[in-house]
């Protein structure tokens, strides 16, 4: 596929022979993978294919899970979950600032909220936000720490279709401005194609397909060229479309 810009040469994440297993069942079966700094990558796979296990391994969250292999990741890693995971007893700004220290922290938190379009909602309780707003706040919480790597575990999976399209635009825009490496776990092929510059398919604990999508942004679902990528990805996922 087409070569990438020079800033992508330095790997942000490097996996060598990464294995993970739960109670004897192998979930990750020796994964070798480099994620260049600043690349927007999507990770596709069936449920149970080990997507979340891989993400949690990179985040260092898999306590007590058996496995081996080498894994290097940046110092500053942020994560966005499927649920916004805002602490209901902290106001929105305090949620964004969770774990953040320093004199200018509050200022940065306000700036991050403004960036995701929640300026003015600093004093709201999480319970007062809509699903989309809560997920925006969660994005602000992860970006305010200026991560080198942003891990996202189906962050739009619980949103309605309209909100999801808006959030796609926002995420892409934020990525362009801050340039973290992104690893977005999703089961939505279209979401992966529209957002990511590289799409991985995880199949039975291995990377089954590694596809660079070299198309300009913003992309539309209806671009005919994307249809080819779509078919290749669906084939790798073992889904065949009936066009008849």
């Amino acid at each position: 596929m087409a070569p990438h810009t020079e800033q992508l040469t330095r790997p942000a994440v490097r996996l060598r022979g990464l294995t993970r297993s739960f109670e004897g069942r192998t979930v990750l079966d020796g994964i070798d993978l480099d994620l260049p700094a600043g690349q927007f990558t999507a990770l596709l796979g069936h449920s149970g294919s080990g997507k979340s296990t891989l993400l949690r391994a990179i985040a260092g969250l898999d306590h007590g899970v058996a496995g081996g292999g080498r894994l290097t990741a940046p110092e500053r890693v942020s994560m966005v979950f499927q649920d916004s995971r805002l602490l209901p007893w902290r106001r929105v700004l305090a949620n964004v600032l969770l774990g953040l220290e320093g004199k200018d922290a509050e200022e940065r938190g306000r700036a991050a909220l403004t960036e995701v379009g929640l300026g003015g909602r600093e004093r709201a309780w999480p319970g007062e936000l809509s699903g989309g707003e809560a997920q925006r706040a969660a994005l602000a919480r992860s970006l305010v720490r200026e991560p080198e790597l942003l891990l996202a575990d189906e962050p739009f999976g619980a949103l309605d279709a309209l909100t999801r399209i808006k959030m796609h635009g926002l995420l892409r825009e934020l990525w362009k401005r801050h340039r973290p490496s992104v690893l977005l776990v999703t089961h939505d092929v279209d979401e992966a194609i529209v957002l990511a510059d590289r799409v991985l398919v995880l199949d039975r604990g291995r990377i089954g397909l590694d596809l660079i999508i070299d198309r300009p942004h913003p992309r539309s679902y209806r671009e005919p060229v994307l249809g080819e990528y779509r078919e290749r990805l669906l084939a790798a996922l073992g889904v065949t479309e009936d066009h008849a």
Partner: protein, 279 residues
């Protein structure tokens, strides 16, 4: 375009039956001051029956007799002393029980060692009805104030411990994961995630503890006391003064109502974020 739609709608409306609102099955809007209505009706019935002379004044004196007796007892100084003695016992016992319950819950909810040492012991303590400990405590501590305060403290600490401990150890694992991702220190995690998350459980325990402290007080004062509100009532029983007993009950009721309202008020303030969830 618009005219066609209206025309169709009009012709349809002629054939379709008009929508009637369904019968409402929920009880509807709450009456104003609903909680006070029942007690007020009772009071009016009591006063009316007393005025008509249908009640045996020896068993149930009239409301105004009770008020007059309260006035006499207050002015001659017996009532203020007794109320103060009772309040002091309850306050000391409650304060000690609250502190012990919270400290033990923190120690056992936040560390595995603490849990191993404390939780089983408290569960064992819970299995023994606290009022059954009275004879033993009298032998150990004498029949003075110390034993009464100790019993009240035990009655109070158990519900506070149980509910706070359950809330602390039941912290949502998703929030634990979040705290790990955000790189919180253990101290920050406990202070900003675990403890605020456990507060609703703590307040459940606190309200049970407050109720328990009054219950313990009543029992202790009526069997082993030489002063206090319960003693006053116990004496009145010997002399057949039902009006004095009713004065005592009235004051107990006021104590219970006021303390519960205070706890509710604090709870509303502290857990103000919860109101957004219920709507």
């Amino acid at each position: 375009m618009t005219t066609t739609t209206t025309a169709v709608a009009a012709s349809d409306a002629a054939e379709l039956p008009q929508v009637r609102r369904r019968r409402r099955l929920s009880p509807g809007r709450r009456l104003p001051a609903a909680r006070l209505a029942g007690p007020l009706v009772l009071l009016v019935l009591w006063a009316a029956a007393s005025a008509a002379g249908t009640l045996d004044t020896g068993a149930i004196p009239a409301p105004w007799t009770v008020l007059r007796t309260a006035g006499h007892l207050w002015t001659d100084g017996t009532l203020p002393t007794d109320v103060l003695t009772s309040l002091e016992r309850a306050a000391y016992g409650f304060a000690i029980g609250l502190t012990a319950g919270v400290l033990l819950a923190l120690a056992s909810g936040l560390s595995r060692t603490g849990e191993a040492l404390i939780d089983g012991t408290v569960q064992l303590n819970r299995a023994i009805p606290t009022l059954g400990l009275i004879p033993l405590f009298i032998l150990w501590l004498g029949i003075g104030e110390t034993f009464k305060i100790a019993i009240i403290a035990i009655v109070v600490y158990i519900p506070i411990y149980l509910n706070t401990h359950a809330a602390l150890s039941g912290i949502d694992s998703r929030f634990v994961e979040l705290a790990e991702v955000q790189g919180l220190s253990r101290f920050t995690f406990v202070r900003q995630v675990v403890i605020p998350g456990a507060l609703p459980g703590f307040f459940v325990g606190l309200r049970l503890g407050v109720t328990g402290s009054w219950l313990g007080l009543v029992v202790l004062e009526q069997i082993n006391a030489t002063s206090g509100l319960g003693y006053l009532m116990f004496q009145a029983q010997n002399y057949g003064q039902s009006d004095v007993i009713l004065v005592g009950l009235l004051i107990y009721g006021v104590f219970g109502l006021v303390s519960d309202s205070v706890v509710r008020l604090i709870e509303r303030r502290v857990l103000s974020w919860r109101r957004t969830l219920s709507n």
